[in-house]
């Protein structure tokens, strides 16, 4: 399986993991290990900056890249402040931009996300913006210096799968400068495999793992599904067809 490179870092796993909603940090630690992920997102607002004891960051294994997210930001200005606070706190310079101004649907604000991406990329951050899938927005993000584009598969936390599949396919077909990472809505390993089969470069999952009966087991299931989906993409899956295709065509005689 080919390597994924984001912000100059080679990642062997194409499965990024969110760290919210777990019952304990010990459980999270086991999930991270079992997922074999190279990147985990952490909401800065949930990090107890002042205390080292029980700080979520101390449960993240060495070698796993921390992707601070700006969860809670309502506009570009707030996202930029959170990202800077995160870097000053020593959490590194990877940031997932998450800007929401709708508490009911939690849909990302694409316009504000573009603004924040531009500012933070210029400041040297590795910026991974979370957006609703839109080709124009994706192009603007690339121009703004994003290290990847992260379109949502369906509403965050909904476990509904790739409801935006057609729009994500457009991004996969048209955006080649940076990886496309499907983030939000992936509820089953089969959804993750589907995203990888259509050519997404990676997926980010949280709720589906955290809300499973056995989160660590589910993390492993996702890791395998992501790897399988990627292999299938690289293998070049045959076209699907609604009707059977005879392996001996009727019109074969025309070419004999």
């Amino acid at each position: 399986m080919s390597e994924l490179v984001i912000g100059g870092v080679s990642l062997s796993s194409r499965f990024l993991l969110g760290t919210g909603k777990f019952k304990s940090k010990q459980e999270l630690q086991e999930v991270i290990q079992r997922s074999k992920t190279d990147v985990v997102t952490v909401a800065l607002r949930r990090i107890d900056i002042e205390k080292n004891e029980d700080n979520i960051v101390s449960y993240i294994p060495e070698g796993v890249t921390l992707l601070a997210n700006t969860s809670g930001a309502r506009n570009a200005k707030e996202a930029v402040r959170i990202a800077r606070m995160s870097r000053e706190t020593g959490l590194g310079n990877w940031v997932k931009i998450e800007i929401m101004t709708d508490s009911k649907y939690l849909l990302p604000d694409n316009q504000e996300t573009i603004k924040a991406t531009e500012i933070l990329a210029a400041e040297g951050f590795v910026v991974l913006p979370y957006v609703s899938p839109d080709l124009y927005v994706a192009r603007d993000l690339v121009k703004a210096g994003a290290a990847a584009v992260m379109p949502l598969g369906s509403l965050i936390g909904s476990n509904q799968g790739l409801r935006t599949r057609t729009l994500i396919e457009v991004l996969i077909n048209e955006i080649h400068e940076v990886p496309i990472i499907v983030d939000a809505g992936i509820g089953r390993p089969s959804h993750a495999a589907e995203a990888m089969e259509i050519g997404a470069d990676a997926v980010l999952v949280n709720t589906a793992v955290a809300s499973a009966e056995h989160p660590a087991l589910m993390a492993e299931a996702f890791a395998q599904a992501v790897a399988a989906g990627r292999l299938a993409w690289e293998a070049g899956a045959g076209d699907q067809s609604a009707i059977a295709r005879a392996s001996s065509p009727l019109t074969g005689f025309l070419h004999e």
Partner: protein, 327 residues
């Protein structure tokens, strides 16, 4: 039949199962912790059911800046990071300037500050936001416009409409989280709950960026108060809270120490996302726990923060101390 009628007809266990499924999906196994901090109990109102009413002959006190500092320090030392600053409702004793001063002090100790104080105009809320306030709570108490004036005979609280408009003014001013509640037991619960849900839904629609929290306080009998609460059974309260979760999956549901430990521990995994713990309900109650004082109510759950934290972990929940930090 309305959606609400249909919900109220369902079996309690069935409601609880759905509420838990939604809560686990949207919130996961995390419960935020906060504590109230009373800085003043002077009040201009005379709510007939309240221990802080201006009619009540209780010891009145307003903390000085030094005392607020000591109080914040004592509470922060317990590990609490989300604080709810409370006062009685007095524009004279706890005016905006006093509240701003208190917020400036509390900022040194807490990354997240909410207030439960007298309702204000939008511009006043803007000043609180600028000072560092993230959340506010204002209970409507009762949504029955005919009953309301008799329960609130005096003071600015007498104006039903002004109080009803409070969450809108706060949201307009940019307060991140707005808290709602009806004081259950003042009136028949069903119309109260319906009106509360309609109020929440309207604010949610008009201010999609504002986070909403709902509390379901049950009126406790207060010595000397003029109103005897209409009882709300545990089952009715659980049903109401489940329905709130089903109607509003992303709304924060808060449970205070008004409820006893047994009730809290059992209801918590169903739909609750935020609880108060180790609460002092007297002015200055953290730095001077032994001072004999009249609280707004007597907490029913008197466990320490460490005990509540342990209970959460045992039940498979991650106790969250910081869920937002002021930027």
């Amino acid at each position: 039949m309305s959606k609400l009628d249909a919900l109220f007809q369902r079996d309690t266990e069935d409601l609880a199962q759905e509420a838990q499924r939604i809560t686990r999906q949207y919130w996961g196994r995390a419960i935020s912790l906060f504590a109230p901090l009373y800085i003043s109990n002077f009040c201009e109102n005379a709510c007939v059911y309240c221990g802080f009413s201006s009619r009540m002959h209780i010891k009145r006190e307003k903390l000085t800046p030094e005392q607020i500092d000591a109080e914040c320090k004592a509470l922060a030392a317990t590990g609490i990071q989300n604080v709810l600053l409370l006062t009685g409702e007095s524009h004279i004793k706890s005016p905006l300037s006093y509240l701003i001063e208190a917020v400036e002090i509390a900022k040194k100790y807490f990354p997240n500050i909410a207030v439960e104080v007298q309702p204000m105009d939008t511009d006043d809320y803007r000043q609180l936001v600028a000072a560092g306030v993230d959340g506010m709570t204002c209970f409507q108490e009762t949504y029955d416009e005919a009953l309301y004036p008799s329960l609130h005979p005096k003071g600015r609280k007498h104006d039903y409409r002004y109080r009803l408009g409070t969450p809108y003014r706060a949201a307009e001013a940019g307060i991140r989280r707005v808290g709602f509640g009806a004081l259950l037991g003042l009136n028949d619960w069903r119309p109260e709950v319906e009106a509360l849900f309609a109020h929440v839904a309207d604010v949610e629609n008009r201010f999609p960026g504002t986070d909403i929290a709902i509390s379901f306080p049950r009126l406790l009998p207060i010595e000397g108060a003029l109103v005897k609460p209409k009882p709300i059974s545990d089952e009715v309260l659980v049903r109401i809270m489940c329905i709130a979760r089903i109607l509003f999956p992303r709304v924060c549901i808060t449970l205070s120490t008004r409820e006893n430990a047994r009730f809290r521990d059992n209801v918590l995994p169903i739909m609750v996302t935020q609880i108060s713990a180790a609460s002092a309900t007297t002015v200055g109650g953290y730095a001077r726990p032994r001072v004999d004082h009249d609280g707004q109510f007597a907490p029913s759950d008197e466990r320490s923060l460490a005990e509540v934290k342990k209970m959460l972990i045992t039940k498979g929940y991650d106790p969250v101390f910081t869920d937002w930090r002021r930027l």
